[in-house]
């Protein structure tokens, strides 16, 4: 009959109007700067590098796998070398262009040394267009504790794996 469908629809909207005052389910807005959602553990945003003891000694060995596999090619690694020019197992520079990175997480997956992980940080706005979003080694390196804090499950699994590795032959981590 004419008009009843419209009235039914209006009933739904007015129910939602009143429900928005009583039920959290009907007022889903999170008032962002004051309220925050707790991040999911697997949430991934931009990659960062992990170091265990000191930032000068990162887990990364500059093998360049992540740079090769990165689909948008946003990672640039230059391997460090000692005084005689012999390549060392650590990066001289490690740059990630956050303006290109598309948060796919493939670098984390392919890294054989568990050195690069996806961060939870998302408030990254900068004034500059190019250089400000180019993250160098100093900004990328974060302690293992940070990783433990944001992703406890993965961190314990990887720590156990690394501990098992170091206990067996204990190769000189040297350099």
């Amino acid at each position: 009959m004419f008009g009843f469908g419209v009235l039914k629809g209006m009933l739904v909207t007015i129910q939602n109007f009143f429900a928005s005052y009583f039920s959290k389910d009907h007022l889903t807005t999170v008032q962002y700067p004051e309220e925050r959602l707790s991040a999911k553990e697997r949430y991934r945003n931009f990659p960062f590098l992990v170091y265990d003891q000191a930032p000068e000694d990162p887990r990364c060995v500059a093998c360049d796998i992540c740079a090769k596999e990165c689909p948008p090619k946003c990672i640039t690694i230059v391997r460090d070398s000692d005084a005689e020019g012999k390549p060392l197992k650590r990066p001289k520079s490690f740059d990630i262009d956050y303006s290109i990175c598309m948060n796919c997480g493939i670098c984390e997956e392919v890294c054989p040394f568990d050195a690069i992980f996806m961060d939870h940080e998302f408030e990254l706005a900068e004034y500059g267009r190019f250089e400000d979003l180019m993250y160098h080694k100093d900004r990328l390196l974060k302690p293992n504790d940070h990783f433990k804090k944001i992703r406890p499950t993965d961190a314990t699994r990887i720590d156990a794996k690394l501990a098992a590795k170091t206990q067996k032959p204990a190769p000189p981590v040297g350099n």
């Binding site: 004419f2 629809g9 209006m10 739904v12 909207t13 939602n16 928005s20 007022l27 889903t28």
Partner: protein, 380 residues
């Protein structure tokens, strides 16, 4: 309380009369009324925008504006500042003069119709003997300025919007006028004040059979007249971008909005005056009653906006000509019968006529009406 504003004005005038000549007092009296309207109109508009955003927001499970001031109460001011500081863009091929004139001129009829709205007992700016006619005539001139704006913009979307607006005005003006006729017949006067007085003591016209239909008709055509959902074709944002105000920015755009919201306020006020007893009502002061009634109607308009999709052009015309117009005509007949007979019989007779009219129109329109469908599933 009831006469608060009237007494206020009186005391001012008496005070002024002590040392001013009579003509000056009359001038002051006019000035007070004009100022009151000129302030009340835009302020109403500003807070109606906030109310709409809040109300529709809640319907959509959002907060609505709540950042500027407590509960977003300063939001209209922030909007005003934003509108004033925005760049005023005029398209290269536009008719500059008309492009400038339209938004300015469109506010004038919107403000003028406030003159005949009886806000309370003795609270009407001018008690015109042709009050309703004045209102109907002026509110339809808005469309001219909408069309001027559309034409001056030199934009195809604007032009389409303007043409739609004209077609809509032509179609909806007729049922709108006809839906007021029963009241005019019963009251025997065009004056808004007389109409309100005729409804004293719970004799609201909406409580009669013809009044109910007339109320719905007047309200619906009123909604169409002020271009609000589901009749907002002239600015149908999903099809023609923004219709007639596509090429307007900044304060000019705000003026169109001001006209639209003031019109929706006046139409609600007039609908409540004509059918809902105006400022009549128990306990509370009269002006508050009128405000309550008009705001209730405005909320219904916003409720429409929060719920309904838009009509299509041809459906809009069909709805006006095939349903609203014959119903309005039959409603006049029902009102005539109501007038001609004595108390209990007339209610029954006019109710029968109204019910019959609805019934006939429903069946006459049935071929054009959408049908429910039954769906089946593919067999394996």
């Amino acid at each position: 309380m009831d006469q608060l504003f009237v007494n206020l004005k009186h005391s001012i005038l008496i005070f002024a009369g002590n040392f001013l000549p009579e003509w000056a007092v009359i001038l002051i009296s006019i000035l007070i009324s004009v100022t009151a309207i000129a302030v009340f109109g835009p302020v109403t508009m500003m807070y109606l925008t906030l109310l709409e955003r809040k109300f529709v927001g809640r319907i959509q499970n959002r907060f609505g504006p709540n950042r500027v001031g407590k509960w977003g109460l300063l939001q209209p001011l922030a909007d005003g500042v934003k509108m004033l500081t925005k760049e005023d863009i005029v398209p290269k091929g536009a008719d500059h003069f008309a492009h400038f004139l339209a938004p300015v001129a469109i506010v004038i009829p919107a403000l003028l119709v406030f003159a005949v709205v009886p806000f309370g007992r003795n609270m009407v700016a001018v008690d015109l003997s042709i009050g309703i006619l004045f209102f109907l005539a002026l509110s339809s001139t808005t469309t001219i300025w909408i069309f001027v704006a559309a034409w001056a913009s030199r934009n195809k979307f604007s032009l389409l919007g303007g043409l739609r607006s004209v077609a809509q005005m032509v179609s909806y003006e007729i049922p709108m006028v006809l839906s007021v006729v029963p009241v005019l017949m019963v009251v025997g006067s065009f004056s808004t004040v007389a109409i309100v007085e005729a409804q004293s003591g719970w004799n609201w016209f909406v409580l009669t059979p013809w009044g109910l239909i007339g109320f719905v008709l007047f309200f619906l055509t009123g909604v169409a007249e002020v271009n609000r959902t589901p009749f907002d074709l002239p600015e149908g944002e999903s099809e023609i971008v923004a219709g007639f105000h596509t090429e307007y920015s900044g304060m000019k755009f705000a003026l169109f909005y001001m006209a639209e919201f003031m019109n929706s306020f006046t139409i609600s006020a007039i609908v409540s005056t004509v059918y809902l007893g105006g400022w009549q009502g128990p306990w509370l002061p009269g002006w508050l009653w009128l405000l309550i009634k008009s705001y209730a109607l405005i909320l219904v308009m916003m409720w429409f906006r929060g719920t309904l999709p838009r009509f299509r052009v041809d459906q809009l015309m069909g709805f006006a000509w095939k349903f609203l117009l014959p119903l309005a005509l039959l409603n006049i007949f029902a009102a005539g019968v109501w007038l001609a007979f004595a108390r209990p019989v007339n209610y029954l007779l006019s109710a029968i006529i109204v019910a019959l009219a609805l019934f006939i129109l429903y069946f006459a329109n049935r071929p054009d009406m959408p049908k429910k469908r039954v769906y089946r599933y593919a067999v394996e």
